[in-house]
């Protein structure tokens, strides 16, 4: 199968710090890939390089046939990055809803402003997606009136309404109170079930185990393990993976 996301020889430096080391990654359509690892392992940076919120130092990123590599400069590069962003939806740890817009306005903002979609059409699409995350009845509220879980579900609806080819989740439940995590994970499961390609940076091992097709383990800027969740959780190859899973198991009890 042709990969929808292809990352080749990706390097990222923060100053002299080498945070991503020649990463190669391919994700095919409808695949759900979870990225796990300790904080500082580079998993969020890798995700953020895919839609160029972080500028890669070397290497190439290809999303749905649009390839951006080091040789591209100036206007051409900006255009490619713009195209890549149109094909990727992003969900942030801190939700980042626009506080001066209602829920509905948040969700239609992208299609109307960026894609120039007809407003009524955008509203229809937005309402469908808000209904999917169970928050259509909150469409006229402002974000400050929502719980963290509700905010994150709106953020998911906002990203989906751009009709992306792949969804990027950057620790979507890490800023939530424990009792609100479930509702967000359920929405994510639904999105996966509907056939969306997803790359998820998470600490939720239960989610990774249940929903992911593949789990990648990162440590010190490298992907140290890449396998099916069952295999990974039962027989971790790398001792660092084992330590990570053990820690999660003790945390569970």
């Amino acid at each position: 199968m042709v990969p929808i996301v292809k990352v080749s020889k990706l390097d990222k430096y923060f100053g002299r710090l080498h945070v991503l080391k020649a990463i190669d990654l391919e994700v095919v359509q409808r695949e759900v890939v979870c990225l796990i690892g300790r904080s500082g392992s580079g998993k969020s940076t890798l995700l953020r390089c895919i839609n160029f919120l972080e500028e890669p130092s070397h290497g190439s990123i290809e999303v749905d046939g649009i390839k951006v590599e080091g040789g591209h400069k100036g206007k051409e590069r900006r255009q490619f990055i713009h195209d890549v962003r149109l094909k990727t939806g992003m969900v942030f740890q801190e939700f980042n809803l626009f506080p001066h817009m209602s829920v509905l306005e948040n969700v239609i903002e992208g299609p109307v402003t960026v894609k120039g979609m007809d407003k009524n059409q955008a509203i229809a699409l937005a309402e469908e997606n808000l209904d999917n995350v169970g928050l259509l009845f909150k469409k006229d509220e402002y974000p400050n009136r929502l719980s963290g879980g509700q905010k994150q579900r709106v953020a998911i609806a906002r990203a989906l309404t751009m009709q992306p080819r792949v969804m990027l989740f950057d620790e979507p439940t890490s800023a939530l109170d424990p009792e609100l995590i479930g509702e967000v994970l359920n929405v994510m499961k639904k999105v996966a079930k509907d056939g969306m390609t997803m790359i998820v940076v998470t600490h939720e091992m239960g989610f990774a185990r249940e929903v992911a097709d593949r789990v990648l383990v990162m440590a010190e800027g490298e992907i140290i393990e890449d396998s099916k969740p069952e295999a990974l959780f039962k027989h971790p190859k790398d001792p660092r993976t084992k330590a990570l899973i053990d820690r999660y198991r003790t945390g569970e009890k």
Partner: protein, 283 residues
Amino acid sequence: MNLLLSKKDDAPKTQAELLYEIQIRKERHFRANVALSWFILLLILVMLFSGQKINIGPFQLKTIHIDTAFIFNNMGFIAAGLQETIRISVLSILLAMILALLAALGRLSTFPPVYALSTFYVSLIRGTPLYLQIFFFFLALPQLGIILPGLWAGVLALGLNYGAYMSEIFRAGLSSVGKGQREAAMALGMTPSQTMRRVVLPQALRFAIPPIGNDFIAMTKDSALVSATGFVHELMWRSVKVGRAEFHNLEALIMAAIFYWMMTIILSYFQNILETRLSKGDR
């Protein structure tokens, strides 16, 4: 229905309700006392201008004599300056807001000439007195062959001056918008100008509105400096003019003071309403 209501009123109050009532009563009491004190202070102020000699024990307090006839005769002439004062203030604050926003954006720019232009402007304006700047515009512009009506030269001077100070407010407003907001906009595919227009500016402006209100109130009084050039017939100019003409400078100034003060009280009232409304908003 009535029966139900009266029954409810008779029900014994809970501890929390009682505490709340005490709190409310205390606040009311405080406010009443403040109002009374204001009234007394005002009375003392008026007494000071009564022209009477007041005996307090062995001391005799002299007060200022005011010619009330003069005040009544010239009330209309000075009041006519209110309109001009408000006009120059409104126009100046609009100009100041535009300049302040540009200066703030320049200050956040990574392009050296733009950054330099912004800091140069702010430094020059903050480094010289407003009084001097106002004269400068009246004197320098004609030499450049630019003849502006008095009002516009005044607006230019006041707007440039306040713009420099207000750029700090706008900069704080722009910085108050979190990095996550820009990232969310970028991830949606917004261009930098769309991000600025749709996401950053609306939030920055909301942050900046209360301090802009403060500056506007300050400006209504600084606009008095424009009178010194003699070309703008606002409150101050009119009061100085009639005061000089009839040797009643003090009365004329007192009248101007009353007008400025009243105007400020009214503007502060609206400012308060605006601030309460914004603080209840969606932040």
